[in-house]
């Protein structure tokens, strides 16, 4: 259970009642309260092959985008933050919690949820089971029921599909299951690994619309995306990675002045 998510444990409910107004999702009205996810001089790789050569990074309110060409290490970097790829050197912290050596199954309990590439839904499980898996680390049945109601309010299309196997849903609905499942964790920070990849072009806008909704609810989103133009419209802060190093970071306005960078790394 996330210690930054108020409505979780029963004892806090009374204290939170004035600020958990209405049916709003847990993270709502909390912009600015989300702990900063930061990496300092992170080195990592696979086998003997080093991919990341000292990445320093900080999540910002809203959407923090990470761009870079194929093989730049952006996906590997995301996986060091969710614990899938072990950190060789450097540190990763979330607020004042040290995540450097934590396992993925523990990191999610601090309030960081991942949407894997392709959505990562469990196709053979029902839609409701997918949502329940999202709440696997949550013990409070009331909190689970509340969040499920919230997810269905955001994605009413899922209401009639709860008993269906996730594989029977359309691509757009599967995207909703994936996002809904991540919301069920009660996370405040969402790591998104190329949400638009593999989606039909007409669904890409929908996907970005859904990301905006997460942000509106007070969440921080860290977004890896190949579709740079679409993602720039959402971005509040931008990192550009190449060859395992940060080549640029700053607000998107600064990026447009760096024509060379745009062309060199992003092909724009």
């Amino acid at each position: 259970m996330s210690d930054v998510t108020g409505g979780g444990s029963g004892a806090d409910d009374a204290a939170d009642s004035d600020d958990a107004a209405g049916a709003d999702f847990d993270g709502a009205q909390r912009t600015g309260d989300v702990p900063t996810l930061s990496a300092t001089d992170v080195e990592a790789g696979y086998d003997q092959h080093q991919v990341l050569h000292g990445i320093t990074f900080e999540s910002r309110d809203g959407v923090t985008c990470i761009f870079g060409p194929n093989g730049s290490g952006k996906s590997t970097f995301l996986k060091t933050m969710n614990g899938i790829v072990p950190v060789w050197d450097g540190t990763i912290t979330y607020g004042d919690v040290d995540l450097t050596d934590e396992k993925p199954e523990d990191i999610v309990t601090h309030g960081i949820a991942t949407l894997p590439q392709g959505g990562g839904i469990f196709a053979s499980l029902s839609v409701e089971e997918n949502l329940n898996v999202g709440a696997f680390t949550v013990d409070d049945a009331d909190a689970i029921a509340e969040r499920k109601a919230e997810v269905l309010e955001v994605f009413p299309a899922l209401e009639d599909k709860l008993d269906q196997k996730a594989r029977e849903l359309s691509g757009g609905q599967q995207m909703m299951v994936s996002l809904g499942r991540a919301m069920m964790t009660g996370a405040d920070t969402f790591l998104l690994d190329e949400p638009s990849a593999g989606l039909a072009p007409r669904l890409v806008d929908d996907a970005f619309g859904l990301i905006e909704r997460l942000v509106d609810r007070g969440a921080q989103v860290i977004l890896i995306e190949q579709n740079v133009r679409a993602a720039l419209r959402l971005a509040d802060y931008v990192y550009i990675l190449a060859e395992g190093e940060v080549q640029f970071h700053g607000p998107p306005e600064d990026l447009s002045e760096e024509d060379e960078l745009m062309e060199l790394y992003l092909g724009l």
Partner: protein, 297 residues
């Protein structure tokens, strides 16, 4: 001229036998799904279970069925301890994880067979079942041999409990999520080591206790394991890899095939007939008889 009485009796025997095979097949299929290991040791668990019945029951002066709780506990514990080793050899930087798993469990199977052979010698032993002799006459149908009936009841009960856990509980949901994608399961906060251990332990416990019943129905011999490993392969391939409901059908087909082959052809021809069926199924429908396996296209 087919003797109808004999025919129905063979069907009864085959169905009763199928009930216990299903429990072995479902566990084997789950181990494949959750641990991504083709477990060559499955038949040796049956053999060791049968030997525990043959050795422990006389020690307590008891019937084979009464050692079932011991077998369940011991096998669950051993299975839960073996699982991390299997996980270790099938993950990480190793090339050909499926092959590594095969080699590991093949070694385990050889070790178990060798140990039992060394300790108890090559002779087959009886599992005490004097309470379960005779049969129940059902007019118009035939005789239900008590041993086989109790065995089938155990098989169906074990299967029901197993399926209930898998499809109706939080832990079962976690196991199914792991079977589908380990990494994504971890990202949702599922401790995969714990649930993989539970899954493998439950599979080992069911398989070992099925061994006690098989020992009561036939007997316990150090060389019996390979046959049940072949049976497990037969069921899973016939069912379609990773498709649990298909295993139930496949287990019953297996029981009936064994029963019919033994009577109308020869007991020695059972494996030959089974593999003839497998070859035909693989040629005609690689995703299993119901066409719903993992390899379904």
């Amino acid at each position: 001229m087919v003797d109808i009485g004999l025919f129905t009796q063979i069907v009864i025997n085959g169905l009763l036998l199928g009930g216990i095979y299903v429990t072995i097949g479902v566990g084997f299929s789950l181990a494949f799904g959750v641990l991504e290991v083709v477990d060559f040791a499955v038949g040796e668990y049956v053999m060791v279970g049968a030997f525990m019945g043959a050795v422990l029951a006389p020690l307590f002066g008891a019937e084979g069925v009464f050692v079932i709780p011991i077998v369940l506990v011991v096998f669950f514990a051993v299975g839960a301890l073996i699982q991390p080793l299997i996980h270790h050899v099938t993950t990480g930087d190793r090339p050909h994880p499926l092959l590594m798993g095969l080699v590991f469990t093949f070694g385990l199977a050889t070790f178990l067979r060798g140990s039992v052979l060394t300790i108890f010698g090559p002779n087959s032993q009886d599992v005490p079942s004097s309470l379960l002799t005779g049969g129940i006459e059902v007019p118009g149908l035939g005789t239900f041999p008590v041993v086989r009936t109790v065995t089938a009841v155990f098989g169906v009960t074990g299967l029901a409990v197993f399926m209930y856990y898998l499809y109706r509980t939080r832990g079962g949901m976690a196991i199914r999520a792991i079977a589908e994608d380990r990494t994504n399961a971890r990202l949702m906060g599922i401790n995969i080591n714990r649930y993989q251990s539970i899954a493998y332990g439950a599979y080992a416990a069911l398989t070992g206790s099925a061994g006690v019943f098989i020992g009561m129905t036939f007997n316990a011999s150090p060389g019996m394991g390979l046959q049940y490993t072949a049976f497990a392969f037969f069921m899973v391939v016939l069912a379609g890899m990773g498709y649990l409901p298909g295993v139930i059908v496949a287990g019953i087909v297996l029981g009936l095939t064994q029963s019919f082959t033994a009577v109308y052809i020869s007991g020695n021809a059972v494996l030959l007939v089974l593999f003839a069926i497998i070859y035909v199924v693989l040629l005609v429908s690689p995703a299993g008889i119901l066409g719903k396996g993992e390899w379904a296209t």
